[in-house]
Symmetry: C2
């Protein structure tokens, strides 16, 4: 991290003042410089350093899609294709991208409209963009950088459609970077964030690529047009699963940790109003309302950090099975990665927004660092699968498991709880009982089971009353999504409690982690009270105990709030925030940073052109 941060090329100092063009150029410069640096330092793309490099750069670098380009060839290509393309890519003799999403289609891949028709006479595929909605849209690195890309298109042989397949297509000349014949490509313009990435568009007009350019690790079109499929299609899911799980840490939990660090540090510098008459104005973190805003987000950052470990372990175990050709864990892995991607990105996006708003006007300034964290994390709700659709995929898995569990069939370990009959009532008798992980974990479990079983019952009823299956499903989707979220919430709470228990040897850490776990769980009950009260599992009187315990915890955790964010160990450079620096010099830094703004460096032509004539009463001459 030091090696990166001390290098001026990697500085993010002026980032908040830069235009999209400037951000792009800086990102390319950094990416190229990084190659040089990695070579010097002996770091490799797959080495342990890369995670830290990425973190130190805050992802603000070009050619990230180049990695996806390489990964898709490694996974979907044949050995021959891998041998040909991977060395070229590794040595940057080409720059790759990955062209899947179209103007008209995102998450629903089967609907993609780009076509690839096999021409038996020339042994080529002819790629086309048949209509405006089929234009490739959003691929990173494609707007201005990439020379090659993997295009996903509907394969046609002898007039028959064989579905989506990946093709390597060269889009720009390796000599002068001009667009290749039949290629129309460019940048899609400004977005809420990712100004450093040249998300692009691509139209294909009778672009011909040789037969060898279809990635054929799992299928092939033979010279005579015979189509052969081999191996399991399911492995495609595994790639998506991996990506969804890996983004939770880098793109979601880390931004939330940064936002918590900034907002909590600022809240012990900022003073506002008097808490006690006659005293100095109070630090805003001493107000219950500010604690209620920020401390649950801090607890959530830890909760999701631990769930990420849990998911990684699940993934590693699944991968070992897959290597043994056992694909049994795939449905569970797919359901988990979908549901948690949706639940965690949604939760953390709201959490970052709460941190931003909790800093008032200064949070709204780009110099606080919070707006860019928010606009970046917001994108995670959308990319790699739209969250609602992902939750419904998890719900489909849960419905299957619930049916299986109800009829005594075996289910994956994570959902065996569905087989447990509904317990009666929550046994808590006073507010301290709600600091017992067993009590609240059971409440979450009960709630998840109830939402899953009642939705399953509604679905069943509708179908039995004659509603068509797909109609019945659509009529239950709001509740299905809710059930899937409840499942993920339960697993997160349970995993947090289990993690805390394992910290036995570190009593000090265990104690504070226990507080955070309690807070995360009780805040969840407090703010989703309806689903716990609904069938009386928790009574109104018990909900008052939850509220009391929750509010007590805020005051307890307040004391450790600053050390808890310091523990995330972000450097000032990595936070890049005028509000969040370690030394707490908020106002001085805001003032100094504002001086660097281009709005202060340039004398605006607006004065001579408009203000002067106006003030000098020459309105009529304008």
């Amino acid at each position: 991290v030091e090696a990166i941060e001390s290098d001026p090329v990697f500085s993010r100092e002026n980032q908040y003042f830069q235009t999209q063009n400037e951000r792009y150029e800086a990102a390319v410069r950094k990416a190229v410089h990084l190659q040089k640096k990695m070579h010097e330092m002996g770091w490799t793309e797959n080495g342990p350093e890369f995670k830290y490099i990425y973190r130190a750069l805050s992802g603000d670098v070009a050619f990230l899609l180049h990695r996806i380009f390489m990964r898709s060839i490694s996974v979907l290509g044949s050995e021959k294709q891998i041998a040909k393309w991977i060395p070229l890519a590794t040595q940057y003799q080409l720059i790759g991208s990955y062209a899947q999403t179209e103007l008209g289609h995102g998450t629903y891949l089967q609907g993609l409209e780009t076509t690839a028709v096999f021409d038996i006479t020339t042994q080529e595929f002819i790629l086309n963009t048949p209509k405006i909605s089929a234009v490739k849209w959003w691929p990173g690195d494609m707007g201005r950088s990439a020379t090659h890309t993997v295009v996903f298109a509907q394969l046609y042989v002898h007039g028959k459609c064989y579905g989506m397949h990946p093709f390597i297509v060269q889009i720009r000349s390796l000599q002068d970077h001009s667009l290749c014949p039949g290629i129309i490509a460019g940048d899609i313009g400004p977005k809420m964030n990712f100004e450093h990435i040249d998300n692009g568009y691509l139209m294909l007009q009778n672009v011909r690529v040789p037969r060898e350019n279809m990635l054929n690790g799992f299928c092939e079109v033979q010279p005579d047009g015979t189509y052969i499929r081999r191996g399991s299609q399911q492995i495609n899911y595994f790639t998506m699963t991996t990506v969804r799980i890996s983004l939770i840490s880098d793109e979601v939990v880390i931004p939330l940790m940064k936002a918590c660090t900034i907002a909590i540090r600022y809240s012990v510098v900022r003073r506002q109003s008097k808490l006690k008459p006659g005293e100095q104005e109070a630090k805003i973190l001493d107000y219950q309302t500010q604690q209620d805003k920020l401390l649950p987000q801090l607890a959530a950052a830890y909760a999701f950090h631990f769930i990420n470990d849990y998911l990684q372990e699940l993934l590693d175990r699944g991968y070992r099975e897959i290597q043994r050709k056992n694909f049994d864990t795939l449905p569970e892995l797919h359901a988990f990665s979908s549901g948690f991607k949706a639940m965690v990105t949604q939760y953390c996006t709201s959490a970052v927004e709460i941190c931003l708003r909790a800093c008032g006007g200064h949070g709204y300034s780009l110099l606080s660092g919070l707006p860019s964290l928010y606009t970046k994390i917001l994108a995670s709700c959308i990319y790699e699968g739209e969250n609602t659709i992902l939750l419904l995929q998890t719900a489909r898995f849960l419905m299957k498991c619930f049916t299986a569990a109800s009829t005594g069939q075996p289910v994956p370990p994570s959902v065996t709880y569905l087989a447990v009959g509904e317990a009666g009532k929550c046994p808590a008798k006073n507010k301290l009982d709600f600091l017992c992980p067993d009590i609240y974990t059971k409440a979450y479990q009960h709630m998840a089971v109830r939402l899953i079983s009642s939705t399953a019952a509604k679905l069943q009823d509708l179908i039995q009353s004659g509603v068509k299956k797909y109609d019945a499903w659509n009529q239950c989707t709001v509740q299905l999504a809710q059930a899937a979220k409840a499942h993920c919430h339960y697993i997160t709470v349970k995993n947090f409690a289990v993690t805390v228990e394992k910290l036995q040897t570190k009593a000090g850490i265990q104690k504070i982690m226990k507080h955070l776990c309690d807070l995360f769980a009780l805040h969840g009950i407090f703010s989703n009270a309806g689903v716990f009260l609904h069938d009386g599992y928790i009574s109104g009187a018990q909900m008052d105990m939850v509220t009391a315990s929750y509010l007590d915890l805020l005051a307890v955790i307040r004391k450790d709030a600053v050390p808890l964010v310091d523990a995330f160990d972000f450097t000032d450079k990595s936070l890049n925030s005028a509000l969040g620096s370690y030394d707490g010099q908020v106002y001085q830094r805001l003032y100094e940073w504002a001086q660097k703004s281009p709005t202060n460096k340039q004398i605006s032509p607006a004065y001579e052109k408009y203000l002067k004539p106006l003030l000098h009463n020459m309105l009529s001459k304008l």
Copy 2:
């Protein structure tokens, strides 16, 4: 609107591509041009046209603070001061700003640190910024445009502090716009939105202004230093009240209406997956989950449109009383404007974000128009009083009224409901009963009374158990804020129901408005189930009826969704959205607009500088 939109100077066509400097220059140009136009058309600043002008410009114009400058002189100045300054301002012989907020203080005005010391020998006030946290920060039009500003400072005479007072201070030369002696001012740099406004900072170093520059409509420092206060201080609250109510329509409800228009129009163009096997892909608005996202926001836009009318009427009535020197309505007006400002801005900000997310990747592009609506409405949660503090002011009023009502004393008409004893149980027997406004309005009323009374009881208990009053208050603030929101939510639902009832003569409109009112109310119960279930007023079985009725309504309103947003009557130019145009040509427009991006107009220097050497394998030479 036509006169504005047809004028190329007012075009917002390239807005999404502009830098902060370009946005500022365009806003100044528009403001100056607008003066000319208004002169030509015979429009006046206070005329009925101004609302439409502002709407047509989407607020994207400079000198808005000039109006606040004038208003503060009109309200706080003496007749002599008004006679001197208002004509100068009206003729733009100066450009005004309004300098209240400081780096270290926002909503808590008493904490402002700028000082104004009366110098009896020269009959001047000497203004100073004693420390970094006292630098004025955020005032609009001040960074680069204003020549004068109203500075709020702590008044000192003979060493005694008399609290906050307003002073007219010249900051830039009227000849060449250079900063006046002792003035350090500039732009505060980039923000999430409002790039067109030069929000500024201001440091004062022994700046002297004549005694006549203290606005002295309500108080005066006489030549010998005698301080005289006259008139009611309460009138200051009335100005804030007016501003908070007026921003609800222009800055909050209109952006939400725009967001709904864009998202709903896009959702009937966008198709995704198949709802029924074998059929064409379905419009995404036909999915229950998409309806659940968007239709409650549409209903909320109408609900808040009507509550705005209600607040305006309350304000007008209050103003008539004030003119008769009756200030009795001020506390109620202040409580209402605070609570509704907080509740409506928060609700609508979430609603716009939901609209943005519901448009997937394309919503995330600035070209959709949604990001700028979101970043703009987000600011409304912060300016004109931080929302949590405002809610607590409303709560303080409610606590007083509750105590009064409990002891049989008279209370303002809007809170007489607090005197009603708690009803037993909700009488609804089936899901159709929940389409009865009386049933759901009563449920909201019961819920508000319960939250207010239980919080009052907790506060009372704490104080009786020996906790100091201010500590007890702080320990209840999370629940107090919740109670204030519940009150505003109840009034909104009730007002919607009353408004629908008055539409009797227009049966068609009444019918659809009734659906929207039901949807708004039931969605509120569905998504805040806990507060209704808590004491069993609504049972779990009844909550299932609410859910069923709510989901049924989604399918009903789906049919009218497009006409309901068309009724908001925004022109394509005013929406400025590639997704939301009336003709539905979403993909074509995204493609065409992207072509205009500067990222496509300029050949990036990054190729020659970085990409070419990399691709041509000259890494070592970099």
